[in-house]
Amino acid sequence: LGLSPHIDKMMNKEIKMAKEYSRTSRVSQQVQKELARILQQEVKDPRIGMVTISGVDITRDLAYAKVFVTFLTIGDQTNEESLEGLNSAAGYIRRLLGKAMRLRIVPAVRFCFDETLTEGLRLSELVSGAVKK
């Protein structure tokens, strides 16, 4: 910027920090916390078992949120049924999220099953089995 090198360095550091901890990542972390609380305390659909939110992806304009979830299924309940239950309650959950967070635009929530967890466990077991051999 043509200022002294010391000030240039400070401003570059601030810009780098802003990019690393952007508004979308801060909002997605907060949305994750609020959704975890809402799903445990407010949603009482029998199709939904114990839900864990592993991550939230939000678009840049904060209008849409993709929520990655995993389930602890009980008995014959399948992941698809639990996901269907969650997506059918998405509107209600969005309303509760709007009350919990002070945002100009409340993101529309869409739930997706997170396969990375089960895949990661499976791969980890395969690797440890191969190492033992």
């Binding site: 994750q32 916390k33 975890a36 609380r37 445990q40 305390q41 114990m50 864990t52 939110i53 592993s54 991550g55 995993t70 602890l72 009350k99 919990a100 002070r102 967890l117 089960t118 990661g120 466990l121 980890s124 077991e125």
Partner: protein, 120 residues
């Protein structure tokens, strides 16, 4: 340390948004072993990841087996992202899981919260 021979134990999985702690106790509540993401070596934001929780469960399972634990009752507390991976890892560690219970403490509208949490 002397090995305790405890065939039935309780695994307390305490997950927060910053860390995951797993404690194995006997049926009375006396601690046999414990571990956490920080104890394993993770620092900062890596502590609350599902992978860290998985490693915590592996560590704790290994020590629990050395103390003769065969059957586990699991109690889950908290809203953190590590609970599912910790639970799955404990199930995959050749323990007989007799019960899984969610014991997250909820107030029946209790004490007044600090200003930051009263915005809602």
């Amino acid at each position: 340390k002397a090995k305790k021979n405890v065939p039935s134990a309780i695994a307390h999985i305490h997950t927060t948004f910053n860390n995951t702690i797993i404690t194995i106790t006997d049926m009375k509540g006396d601690t046999i072993c414990w571990s956490s993401s920080g104890a394993i070596g993770f620092k900062g934001s890596k502590k609350n990841t599902p992978y860290a929780a998985q490693l915590v469960a592996q560590t704790v399972a290994k020590t629990a087996k050395e103390n003769g634990v065969k059957t586990l009752t699991i109690r889950i507390k908290g809203f953190g992202p590590g609970k599912d991976s910790a639970l799955r890892q404990l199930q995959a560690s050749d323990f007989e899981v007799s019960e899984i219970r969610n014991v997250t403490s909820l107030p029946h509208n209790g004490v007044r919260k600090p200003k930051k949490f009263r915005r809602r």
